[in-house]
Symmetry: C4
Subunit: 185 residues, 4 copies
């Protein structure tokens, strides 16, 4: 279900699923059951750019991770990216309904300004409601069926980075603007 | 040796080999010999769906892992999936003969209702006996020769998930049924 | 430089390089410099088969790992495979010259009965001398230039397993022989 | 922007970014936030060759790693490669300007003799100034746009090794020279 890519001004919330979005949807398990996941270093620069845009007042949306996974590996990656995180959430739709009601009281359609990035069946209820639903190339077929945009990148393979570059319009910046942005820490 | 895919009602036991089935048949080894394996996060949702089907009485079969591997990494993953597990079993056929005799005493052909998923030579004796034998796309050629079904997925790359989705008939559910299933935890 | 594949009877020693042979030639490094490598579970069954052949007197050759790498991760994997191992060896050719002189004193050409499997430039001096030199598909071009056989498998991707299956003639065994071999532990 | 490959004599400094250059730009994160990266064993031999060249007076350039990443995993790999390393450096261009001014005082164009290997947007300011800028095949499109050379290898997949082999002219050595080089430790 294609739909035009949202403008920065039209978005108040961007919510990311974790596994299969920031990762390749795989988990490394050791003998003691300790878990590790594989993430993309390029995502770090993406959120640095977002914070630069926020400091300059060019971006007001909130960004956070919402995951069903209970293992704290999700929190560990979120902390490195300096990104908010809610994990161990079984009913994602219920969580967001409450979150938006509290943050945007009185908004008749708080979902309209929300972007959701997800890849699997438990993301479906929320993706059906989100104003803009984005899936990686290797998402579940039923997720691809309802996403407004399927990116060419697979989860954990530049998917988050490419979405954020498109959201920030990196392609339309001059080289001076880019050099300045990446040096602004 | 193609054979029609079994119905839920015709199955009483589903047995999974571990390495090459839940994983890519690789093992990460550290300096102290500690082992880790790479699993697919999508398998977790598959077994959540199975438990939902079981709670609703739509499924009575038992599911467990049977592995020759002695390392407890197999147990660690089974525990996360809330799945029964027998590991360090050298003679898989002998183990299952005893298991089925104890669970289904008097059954003239207890193997008929058993599905087995395996990928390597030591799975052959059991796959020859199983009512339905399933292999991932990258199984050993001699395993592919006798499997009733070779799935298009490689081990650890959605193979278990795709088999379970087919077994549960996910493709034939309505969107309301799917949304309800994935929210039922 | 193709050369006919050696018979079991013609071989007294099989020497394996480690990285790039048992692994994909990659190393995972953590914050403390601890190393892990990725190995193929299928190799375990290969050395089980070799030991079965040895117990039955069908095979007398010795098999071991010879690696320049100093990190004990090599030893950890060798131990799991129950395989001899010499690591931290900078001058592989010198090591083997001494080893063969001690084990086969008086043999005019002890290298003739030796198979060597290697993938990189430091394997070249030994591969030029070995009676039979085998490389994985992704070996260094200069190694491929002098190998007697380049296997279609990449290092760590079934390369060792495929070489051993060919050496043992697995393709020519009956199904009864295979079922018996894999159950003989 | 193609430019002829520099000669050994024309270079005084070779600077490597780390993530995406020595690695596939991925990071494994565990439950406690501990990081691991995947490196290429072949890079070790490359720096062994460089040290042999240096000992023989055939090479005088300095080689080191310069990374924005704060995690000590960068230091751990540099230590194994016996390579200098500056990490946690946000302003790479500023760092190198000071470094070259101190090391080559009075040099009118100290950047001319510097090679830089990088893959992402924060490498751009330095790559624009470097006498020779090299990118892996999977570098960011804006990096590829300005690199003097895009190697066919991806980051962490033989990229550093192939660059060093080309710099040392491995292809033009005789087999005696290569065998001697790889045995010289």
């Amino acid at each position: 279900m294609p739909k035009s890519f949202p403008t920065l001004a039209a978005i108040h919330t961007v919510v990311f699923d974790f596994d299969g979005v920031f990762t390749d949807n795989k988990v490394w398990v050791d003998q003691d059951g300790r878990e590790s996941v594989r993430c993309d270093r390029g995502d770090g620069l993406a959120f640095d750019l977002i914070r630069t845009f926020q400091r300059r007042g060019r971006l007001t949306a909130e960004f956070f991770i919402l995951s069903k996974e209970a293992n704290p590996v999700v929190l560990a990656r979120a902390k490195k990216l300096k990104l908010g995180c809610h994990h161990g959430v079984g009913d994602k739709l219920g969580f967001i309904v409450e979150y938006l009601a509290a943050r945007l009281p009185g908004d008749a359609d708080p979902f309209a300004g929300m972007v959701y990035l997800g890849n699997d069946l438990n993301d479906l209820p929320l993706m059906r409601r989100a104003g803009y639903a984005v899936a990686p190339a290797d998402a579940h077929p039923l997720v691809c069926d309802i996403a407004h945009l399927i990116m060419p990148q697979r989860g954990g393979e530049g998917f988050v980075r490419a979405f954020i570059e498109r959201l920030l319009g990196i392609d339309h910046l001059t080289k001076e603007e880019i050099d300045e942005l990446v040096s602004d820490r």
